[in-house]
């Protein structure tokens, strides 16, 4: 009898919990089509003592990876803002982390920045409060991925290309084309890697853009259904060649080192880390060009430490910090004055910081939308949510 009563109480309570859950879900309004109106900061106040950062691995280094690589400790001493960093493995990770509201700033790539802006997760940035903004390269400011309607939503950080990594002692002759990772008869079958994110579909589209002109792909993030299907079909051909897809960059570097991976897409920073461990590895931008990124520091609309966040954005855009991070990560800096401060005087030349021709065939990550980003109006393009589904299906088939 007693037992029964207890159960009935539990039942009542769980029903109550369900109703509560239902109520709370009703109170949040669904997102609307326009950009949510969020006020930008007017005046800088005193630092809050800490700032919570979501960043790509290698963007926020305090000397714990390599004692010589440190542009955080000085900032912490000068401003009293302790920097807590959380690395995101993919843009999707970063969007999810920013949605929690627990982080103040994020280094968002182009395939995350617009989603964050339209999702109301980031606030406009008052560039007057960031003195170093003045020195940023002009052609990186107020671009399609970091501003909406003439309002800046972030501070450009730097840009780079996704490279083709190969073990120089194993892969001979050295590859020159992305074709080497899509070749069904590759001698390196089982030792090829690819980036574990839906955005990798663009890499397949980029290769098709160069090799199958019939498909008429103009921009790898604007794919109509037929073009999209061709890209996914190519990835299905590639799957048997793949040993591991990589999302965790440390595991990826370990795999390059052990020889489990000998060929595949990578970032310059991974090449640098592997070379640091004496791994015979090289990274190239293949003849077809490459996908890449142009990153932006953005501030959360729910930032709990907005002052430290602004101080951080100003610091990371400063010539010294921007030079250090660009050199460590292996990307082109965004601050024009950085080029004079890199340890390697040729860094800006090597990474083509001011060389617009080099960037002509680098397609920065972008968020695919139903409205084709290449300007076509006669067809509908496949939106990013479908990319996610296709990727999930490919990975689990």
């Amino acid at each position: 009898m007693q037992k029964k009563r207890l159960f009935s109480r539990i039942a009542v309570a769980s029903v109550a919990a369900l109703i509560l859950a239902g109520c709370s879900s009703g109170s949040d309004s669904a997102s609307d089509s326009g950009v949510p109106k969020i006020d930008m900061m007017k005046k800088l106040g005193a630092g809050e003592g800490q700032v919570n950062v979501v960043a790509w691995a290698g963007y926020v280094e305090n000397g714990s990876t390599d004692p010589k690589v440190d542009w955080v400790t000085g900032f912490e001493k000068d401003t009293g803002c302790k920097v807590n960093v959380k690395n995101g493995a993919t843009s999707d990770d970063m969007v999810a982390l920013m949605k929690t509201g627990e982080y103040d700033v994020v280094s968002a790539s182009g395939d995350a920045s617009l989603r964050l802006i339209y999702g109301g997760d980031v606030a406009p940035v008052n560039t007057d409060l960031i003195p170093n903004y003045a020195d940023i390269f002009k052609n990186l400011k107020m671009q399609q991925w970091n501003s909406v309607g003439g309002v800046a939503y972030g501070i450009p950080h730097g840009r780079g290309a996704n490279l083709l990594a190969y073990r120089t002692d194993i892969v001979k002759p050295a590859p020159t084309s992305w074709g080497s990772v899509f070749d069904a008869n590759s001698p390196y079958k089982g030792k090829i890697t690819a980036y574990d994110s839906p955005i990798y579909i663009a890499d397949a589209a980029l290769y098709l853009m160069a090799t199958q002109p019939d498909l008429k792909i103009k921009y790898p993030y604007a794919l109509d259904q037929a073009q999209f299907d061709a890209a996914v079909a190519l990835l299905k051909v590639q799957k048997p060649l793949i040993g591991e897809y990589w999302g965790d960059y440390l595991k990826h570097v370990a795999s390059l080192k052990s020889g489990g991976t000998v060929l595949g897409t990578t970032w310059q920073v991974n090449i640098n880390l592997a070379k640091g461990e004496k791994v015979p590895v090289e990274g190239i931008k293949p003849t077809e060009g490459s996908t890449g990124w142009s990153d932006t520091w953005m501030i959360s609309s729910k930032a709990k430490n907005p002052n430290c966040a602004y101080l951080w954005m100003n610091h990371i855009a400063s010539p010294a910090a921007n030079a250090a991070v660009a050199e460590w990560f292996g990307e082109a800096p965004s601050n024009a004055k950085s080029c004079a401060l890199t340890a390697d005087p040729n860094h800006c030349a090597t990474f083509h910081a001011a060389d617009d021709a080099y960037w002509a065939d680098v397609y920065y990550w972008n968020t695919a939308t139903e409205t084709c980003l290449d300007g076509r109006t006669d067809v509908k393009c496949v939106p990013y949510s479908e990319w996610v589904k296709a990727w999930s299906s490919l990975r689990n088939s």
């Binding site: 769980s14 919990a17 859950a21 999707d92 999702g119 020889g259 489990g260 996610v388 689990n396 088939s397």
Partner: protein, 286 residues
């Protein structure tokens, strides 16, 4: 003061019961059932395709996507296969081990053996799986080095590696309940069976196995459910293979409602499993 409270409690059994149960019931309802209910509700929501914000409108699209895409059927079958293999492998390894511990080893070494079985649990899950990653590394790993000369090669990263890794992780959870079950089993039953002319295997099949069956079921609930929900092992030593947990992990940041939909699969499989276990009567004699 304390005495008077105790006296008051003693006089009012209802109050006593309430004081005793409030905390656990709250935990059960809010943290446990509440989370499950939220999961179930979220599974029927959808997301804004551009911003990724959850749109709280009831629909069945997620279930439709899940049921029509063959990839998800494959991953369910694959995960079930792995969980069943891990459970079988663990039982096959655990029964002789537990039998030795409970019936053959001297009382003194019994304690040492129990401690030894428990020691792997002191190390972090991640450390153990990364250790397996190094060991199974094709060509350079210790498995190839050790077994290569006799013609056995590392399976590389994939399904077999996941089964090995998970079996290693969950083996103690299988050994301990079987050991406890065997310890309760009176030795004279085995002697009687032998005296009546039964062979060892016959004794095992007809006497030991039925008596330790509840323990085996208890162990299998651990190994099966833990394997069913695992995703880290698959991430580290699974190569490009994915389990159900990986699908959830892959989707929860981009499409939380779809991840919730996928997460209802292991929940229902476990519910079915427990129902089947209940029908065998093993739960009652546990």
């Amino acid at each position: 003061m304390l005495d008077s409270v105790a006296t008051a409690m003693h006089r009012r059994p209802r109050l006593r019961l309430a004081a005793l149960l409030t905390a656990p019931v709250l935990w059960l309802v809010v943290a446990y059932l509440g989370a499950l209910a939220t999961l179930l509700v979220t599974a029927f929501f959808t997301i804004d395709s551009f911003t990724g914000n959850v749109v709280r409108k009831f629909n069945l699209d997620n279930f439709h996507d899940m049921l029509t895409d063959a990839a998800y059927k494959n991953v369910v079958l694959r995960t079930l296969g792995i969980a069943i293999s891990v459970t079988l492998l663990c039982s096959v390894l655990a029964i002789p081990m537990a039998f030795y511990m409970a019936k053959i080893a001297k009382p003194k070494s019994q304690k040492i053996l129990v401690a030894l079985v428990l020691t792997p649990l002191w190390a972090s899950y991640l450390v153990k799986i990364y250790a397996w990653r190094t060991m199974l590394e094709p060509g350079s790993g210790v498995v190839d080095w050790l077994l290569g000369p006799i013609g056995i090669h590392s399976p590389g990263f994939g399904g077999p590696a996941i089964i090995i890794g998970l079996s290693y992780l969950w083996l103690p959870y299988m050994i301990l309940p079987i050991y406890a079950g065997l310890e309760r089993l009176p030795n004279n039953l085995l002697d009687a069976s032998g005296d009546l002319g039964a062979h060892n295997f016959y004794t095992f099949r007809k006497v030991i196995l039925p008596l330790i069956f509840p323990s085996l079921v208890a162990g299998s609930m651990f190994t099966f459910s833990l394997s069913l929900g695992d995703y880290i092992t698959a991430q580290i030593i699974g190569g490009k293979l994915q389990m159900l947990g990986n699908v959830v992990y892959q989707n929860f940041s981009i499409n939380l409602p779809f991840a919730a939909t996928i997460a209802t699969i292991p929940v229902s499989i476990m519910a079915l499993y427990l129902y089947l276990v209940r029908r065998t009567g093993a739960l009652a004699s546990m």
